[in-house]
């Protein structure tokens, strides 16, 4: 649609994108990003549009990102296809459906009227027709020209470099266990890479070349020592020295927060670290976790306690590393009616069960953030006791057998006795590769991280875009069947803790009574 302002608008677009100054350009990109991701115009008003010809929408309800994805690489859902709008595709001609490269002018037309640069009308039921000024279009154009443009470090046609973090007090045994899996998996890939690059039909022009599906995986080990508040500087220094395309797996005993924050700041894809204390944030995009770990356990216990309330709850732990779990329980909104008492103790001592017993009396409950060794040092302190399956590391102890007390385990894993076909698949893989299983959980997690990474790298094709890889994980429902250990995995945009719930399982005669388990989604 021609409007009187078209020429002016092209001039504006050019000045916004061609760049008088870098600063102007950056400002336009930032404002354009708010339009794309939040549906907010540079004026501060929400974007307005009609969809289906008559249904008004405002930008706060959904934005360009909702459908086209963080990467702008588009998506298909059911029978509908949302075409890509990322710079490498939008500003190039497309063969199918045929259209010329977009210009600022044709972008204005498709946004306002739904007519593509090739003259095709986009489905009115799906693509909203936006009310945008010429300046608004120029601003969005500036962002789209930057969207998924440029190439991230750590990847080319031959090599893909990843980092695996070994943080804090992670034991050498655990570190070796996951590296045995990572290195063997990468070894297999690298063998295939040799065959792949030896194939004759690699095309004569860049467009006709098949994208390289396999490239050599190189794994960097990033060890983080000292207190967690120094990890960020260590990560920055590793990354500056050897930039990587992604972080893969990883192991640590305490908080993962500094690593999660680093990945977010560097826009670095970080897949499935083996951590029990992930970074919790509603907005984080770059790290994908199996679950919320101990923080989920705290919520499971809080939900169970809220259903069967008591006046006094005592919780105990020794290592400072577990403080975030205790904090999550203490601050749980579900327990606002109960008194919650904290008993942190020195890890060299026995847990202060006598003090806890006195504090909770005959009707209270105790939450024991303890491992087997600590639990064995005294009789259970309360009539109702909660323990953590994560800290018990899959084995329960005879210390949990107490005729007079009830014990419940927070269990964010599949129930014992249930068929875990993904775990079996991992077992078969390990056996055939001669990988010794010494830490089944961490190793199966590392294996799943590798499977996911292999899958997304393959589907990225020639587009090396981290956000695209992450968008693909969001839509790969099929990967759920391959996830070991964790119950009911579900994926979706913005879903970064893949298994959302867990069980509260009664412990009877020292073992988890799977038949009586209750599934809780906090």
């Amino acid at each position: 649609m021609h409007r009187p302002g078209t020429l002016l608008f092209i001039a504006l677009a050019l000045s916004a994108c061609g760049g008088d100054t870098t600063q102007d350009k950056d400002l336009a990109i930032e404002a354009g990003e708010r339009m794309y991701r939040e549906g907010m115009l540079p004026s501060g008003e929400p974007m307005m549009a009609l969809v289906g010809g008559d249904v008004p929408i405002v930008g706060t309800q959904f934005s360009c990102e909702s459908c086209h994805g963080r990467s702008g690489m588009g998506v298909s859902e059911g029978a509908y296809v949302v075409p890509p709008v990322a710079a490498p595709l939008l500003f190039e001609p497309s063969p199918q459906p045929a259209r010329p490269a977009y210009t600022a002018e044709s972008l204005g037309r498709v946004l306002r009227d739904g007519v593509t640069s090739g003259g095709r009308e986009l489905m009115v039921e799906l693509m909203p027709r936006y009310e945008l000024s010429d300046d608004d279009v120029a601003t969005l154009t500036a962002y789209l020209q930057s969207l998924s443009a440029g190439s991230p470090p750590g990847i080319d046609d031959q090599v893909i470099r990843v980092a695996t973090v070994v943080a804090g007090d992670a034991s050498a045994e655990r570190r070796d266990a996951i590296f045995a899996v990572l290195e063997r998996f990468a070894g297999d890939i690298n063998t295939e890479t040799r065959n792949d690059s030896a194939r004759w039909d690699r095309g004569f022009t860049p467009e006709s070349k098949l994208p390289t599906v396999f490239r050599e995986w190189v794994i960097e080990e990033w060890r983080l020592g000292g207190p967690p508040d120094t990890w960020d500087a260590q990560l920055e220094s590793y990354y500056a020295e050897t930039p990587v395309f992604a972080m893969l797996s990883g192991v640590g005993t305490g908080t993962w927060e500094p690593v999660g924050e680093f990945c977010e700041r560097q826009k670095l894809m970080c897949l499935y670290p083996s951590t029990d204390l992930p970074h919790i944030s509603g907005d984080d995009f770059y790290t994908v976790y199996f679950s919320r770990g101990l923080l989920l356990e705290a919520d499971l216990i809080a939900s169970h306690l809220a259903e069967k309330p008591v006046d006094v709850i005592a919780q105990t732990w020794c290592d400072d590393e577990l403080a975030p779990a205790a904090k999550a329980l203490r601050n749980s909104a579900q327990l606002s009616a109960s008194t919650i008492l904290d008993f942190q103790f020195d890890c060299n001592d026995a847990p202060p069960f006598a003090d806890i017993a006195a504090a909770v009396g005959e009707t209270g409950a105790a939450v024991l953030w303890l491992g087997n060794e600590q639990l064995e040092r005294a009789a259970l302190p309360a009539a109702r006791n909660y323990v953590s399956s994560t800290l018990l590391e899959g084995s329960s102890t005879s210390a949990l057998t107490d005729a007079g007390a009830s014990v419940f385990a927070a269990h964010p894993f599949r129930l014992p006795g249930s068929l875990d076909s993904a775990m079996r698949r991992f077992g078969a893989w390990a056996k055939s590769r001669d990988v010794e299983i010494v830490d089944a959980r961490a190793q199966a997690e590392a294996f799943y991280a590798c499977l996911t990474f292999k899958n997304v790298v393959k589907h990225m094709g020639r587009y090396f875009i981290r956000e695209y890889a992450l968008d693909m994980i969001d839509h790969a429902e099929g990967m759920a069947a391959y996830m070991p250990l964790y119950p009911r995995p579900t994926f979706g945009p913005g879903q970064r803790y893949i298994s959302k719930g867990g069980y509260i399982v009664p412990v009877v005669d020292g073992a988890l009574a799977a038949d009586e388990a209750e599934w809780i989604l906090p």
């Binding site: 649609m1 021609h2 009609l50 969809v51 289906g52 010809g53 008559d54 249904v55 008004p56 929408i57 706060t60 309800q61 959904f62 909702s66 459908c67 994805g69 998506v75 859902e77 059911g78 029978a79 509908y80 949302v82 009227d113 739904g114 007519v115 009308e121 009115v124 039921e125 799906l126 027709r129 009310e131 969001d474 839509h475 429902e477 099929g478 009911r488 579900t490 979706g492 945009p493 913005g494 879903q495 959302k500 719930g501 599934w519 989604l521 906090p522």
Partner: protein
């Protein structure tokens, strides 16, 4: 089965606007050819019978809701399946429900809207509550989640189970009070068409 391809003929009167719009120049009505485009929009209407399973779902306040009772309402019912992190059709189906509610005006009070999440592990009651707020859902609109097993059984009983939420298709189901059969709309009907279907099939 009563298959009919329904071309939204509501905009036949806008034929002149269409001609104006295709010239892509003039037009006092800035949305003329959006409306014209609706001529191409099709959806299918059938009248199958479904057995609603005996399940308890959860509303946005976390209260248990027996689905059979809710759908046996004395009021006409309009039902759809959505999930809050859906990337294509759900936001549109939800704004369309909202628009239909507006277009029905005073009659909106007489129609019970129900949206059931097909991603119940993520869409907990609080998540659905903020989704409802985001889309300005009026009264008489119940958002439901529940146990995965129950949701799958609901989807299956309405012949809407597609194996994965990523192959989710747009379906709207309407029911007259006391009726055994449902009016099933496959496809993305716009607000006006949906309001028209509700008015002509449920409210007359």
């Amino acid at each position: 089965m009563n298959w009919r391809t329904r071309t939204c003929g509501l905009f036949a009167g806008l034929a002149l606007a269409t001609i104006a719009a295709t010239s892509s120049l003039a037009g006092d009505d800035p949305h003329a050819h959006h409306r014209a485009a609706m001529k191409k929009s099709t959806y299918h209407v059938t009248e199958p019978s479904y057995r609603v399973p005996e399940v308890q779902l959860l509303d946005t306040s976390g209260t248990s809701v027996p689905l059979q009772e809710l759908l046996q309402s004395d009021e006409p019912v309009a039902l759809n399946f959505i999930f809050t992190t859906c990337t294509t059709i759900c936001p549109i189906m939800t704004v369309t429900f909202a628009q239909m509610q507006q277009l029905l005006g005073a009659d909106a009070e007489r129609v019970q809207l129900v949206s059931i999440s097909i991603d119940p592990e993520f869409d907990r009651p609080d998540v659905l509550q903020s989704y409802a707020t985001q889309f300005h859902a009026g009264d008489n609109w119940t958002f439901l989640t529940g146990d995965t097993k129950d949701i799958v059984s609901v989807l299956r009983s309405f012949d809407s189970y597609t194996g994965s939420k990523m192959s989710h298709r747009p379906v709207t189901l309407l029911k007259r009070p006391g009726s055994e059969s449902w009016i099933r709309i496959d496809g993305l009907a716009n607000g006006e068409s949906l309001a028209q279907e509700v008015t002509s099939r449920l409210l007359d």
